[in-house]
């Protein structure tokens, strides 16, 4: 296994790069600048950094006002608070007004670890995906995260970029450029499609190895943009393989699994299995232990793939 980095590490550093490059970015944080890494930006551009205090609604509202004034406003905090605590602000102010507010909260999913269920956000993709005008990105590694943040800055309108706390293996090479609305075929295969996002991409690749050892050819997609989803790539893949497993560090309700189900349900129905957290809250533990506990390992993905293939056959 190669180098590991947390996707959140890309946040502050990329913001500094954007400002260095002359982009009119500002940051509003809610007392979590060290954890989210926006402190890096504060250090470089103190006049463009605003701490709202422990007041997430105010964080989103202030960012919205900065965006009304023409700024590209990034917000911090943790995924659970930035989406749940301030949902109405995100809906009624950011999205309804169509503002340049870019939510990039960190600490999404169960890889938050010991802080437990109160802090492990497993419903954020569901909440953000249903908002008109919101684009939802789930980068697979720190390089994809940096690129996704650049895309969010350069593209008008609201964005949600899901970042994580735990160090995870790098999937992409240096220089990877994130394309909005594109799913990446990382491995070609003919028997089953493994459609993954975020930290599950690397696990889907590992699952494909396990399956290959049994003579099962798995195609691996990184569905890095959950919305707008790359329906063409998903449909083309399942048309080749005839079965699909979705893999996400999120509830099986409302996130990638649902997005893929919607696409294939309408355009190309094939057997589907969803690997994700099965409608329960998280719990304290070590991130890797939790991935095993909730069935989010390569072994679980491979098992789901066999089931999907069996149903098709």
């Amino acid at each position: 296994m190669g180098e590991k980095r947390a996707t959140r590490e890309a946040f502050g550093a990329t913001l500094v790069e954007l400002a260095d490059a002359g982009m009119d970015v500002v940051v509003v944080e809610a007392d979590l600048s060290k954890s989210t890494t926006t402190a890096t930006f504060e250090k470089a551009y103190p006049a463009r950094f605003f701490n709202a205090g422990i007041a997430e609604q105010n964080m989103i509202g202030t960012a919205a006002g900065l965006a009304v004034g023409g700024k590209i406003a990034f917000t911090g905090s943790f995924a659970v608070f930035a989406t749940g605590r301030a949902y109405d602000q995100v809906r009624n102010t950011v999205c309804y007004s169509g503002l340049d507010v870019k939510l990039c909260p960190t600490h999404s999913g169960i890889t938050v670890g010991p802080d437990g269920g109160s802090h492990q956000m497993l419903e954020d993709l569901a909440l953000m995906r249903v908002l008109p005008g919101m684009r939802v990105l789930v980068p697979a590694d720190a390089r994809a995260a940096a690129s996704a943040i650049r895309v969010a800055a350069a593209t008008p309108g609201p964005f949600y970029v899901r970042l994580g706390r735990a160090a995870v293996p790098l999937v992409y090479d240096e220089g990877f450029e994130f394309e909005l609305g594109r799913a990446y075929v990382l491995r070609e295969g003919t028997d089953v499609t493994l459609a993954a996002c975020g930290v599950m991409v690397e696990r889907a690749l590992a699952a494909a190895e396990l399956l290959a050892a049994e003579g099962v050819s798995a195609e691996v997609l990184d569905v890095a943009t959950i919305k707008p989803i790359d329906a063409d790539t998903v449909v083309a893949s399942v048309a080749r393989t005839g079965a699909v497993v979705t893999c996400e560090e999120h509830s099986i309700i409302g996130g990638l699994g649902s997005a893929v189900a919607e696409v294939i349900g309408e355009q190309r129905p094939v057997p589907l299995r969803r690997v994700g957290v099965r409608d329960v809250f998280g719990t304290s533990g070590d991130p890797e232990e939790l991935m095993v506990h909730y069935g989010l390992t390569a072994i679980d993905i491979a098992a789901a793939a066999r089931e999907a293939i069996a149903v098709r056959a």
């Binding site: 105010n58 202030t62 919205a64 006002g65 900065l66 009304v68 004034g69 602000q89 102010t93 007004s97």
Partner: protein, 283 residues
């Protein structure tokens, strides 16, 4: 930039706006007369005298900004925008109808002159703070962001998060205005959820609070017109707490929570328009 109007002209503007409010709400058949009428003198004073703005150029960088945090009072804003020339008055008759530029609550994507969409209470002050910060970052020290809130709306926690924020950052380019009509939907604010002394609360949050009669045009011109200078002099954001009467100007609506979100029948509207001295040219 628009010319400031005399007190008499402002009174006439407010009267016409009240006529517009009654007419458009009657035509729409739904909406919020009480809190629109209570704010008519405040909003008329802003658009007719205090705000430096140019209706022909709604995006003029040098303009003062207005945020209607109590978005349900959209009719008072639409009346001011129409009366000062942001769009044609004929739109007023389309309020709340399919395809209208005048949505039930302010929509910045549809209506010229609306800075940001509102309607979910409690959010306007934080947005105004962000707008004020943005102006500051751009070195635009002249424009002021005026934010109108309801008294019931002050029950929302985000208002106080924003109040803390504005004083922490010394946002002297934000002026908050409270339409203190004492009523919300379920009755008197003092009975639903008592706000105590609003001016004291803001003062405790580091603001300079000024109280005034929200229906006396001469006072409003002086207090609202002087709020920014006062903020600069004191180095703190200023809030103007305006004593108002919900439904002001229509005898049978005044002081009644029941007229918060109910529109008049054709007969009631005729009475109201007659009381307001509205001629066919306005209605």
């Amino acid at each position: 930039m628009a010319e400031g109007r005399s007190p008499d002209e402002l009174r006439e503007l407010a009267r016409r706006m009240r006529c517009d409010i009654v007419s458009m709400l009657t035509e729409a058949g739904s909406g919020h007369p009480g809190g629109s009428l209570s704010a008519a003198d405040i909003v008329a004073t802003l658009y007719g005298s205090v705000l430096r703005h140019d209706p022909a150029q709604p995006a003029l960088p040098e303009r003062d900004r207005f945020v209607l945090s109590k978005g349900h009072a959209a009719p008072v804003l639409y009346a001011a925008l129409a009366e000062t020339g942001y769009f044609d008055r004929t739109h007023l008759g389309t309020l709340r109808k399919l395809g209208s530029i005048l949505q039930g609550h302010p929509d910045c994507k549809k209506t010229p002159g609306v800075e940001v969409s509102t309607g979910s209470l409690g959010q306007g002050l934080a947005i105004s703070n962000g707008m004020a910060l943005s102006l500051r970052l751009d070195g635009m020290m002249e424009p002021t962001v005026y934010c109108l809130l309801g008294d019931g709306e002050l029950q929302e926690g985000e208002v106080w998060e924003a109040a803390m924020f504005a004083s922490h950052h010394g946002l002297t380019n934000v002026v908050a205005i409270v339409d203190n009509n004492g009523l919300q939907i379920d009755g008197a604010c003092s009975e639903v959820m008592c706000l105590g002394e609003i001016a004291h609360k803001f003062a405790a949050f580091g603001w300079e609070a000024v109280e005034c009669d929200g229906h006396d045009i001469g006072t409003l011109v002086r207090v609202l017109g002087g709020a920014r200078a006062r903020a600069e002099a004191g180095g703190k954001p200023v809030v103007v707490v305006c004593s108002t009467i919900k439904g002001k100007g229509v005898s049978f609506m005044q002081g009644l929570a029941d007229w918060h979100g109910k529109t008049p029948t054709a007969e009631q509207a005729a009475t109201a328009l007659a009381e307001l001295g509205c001629n066919g040219e306005v209605a």
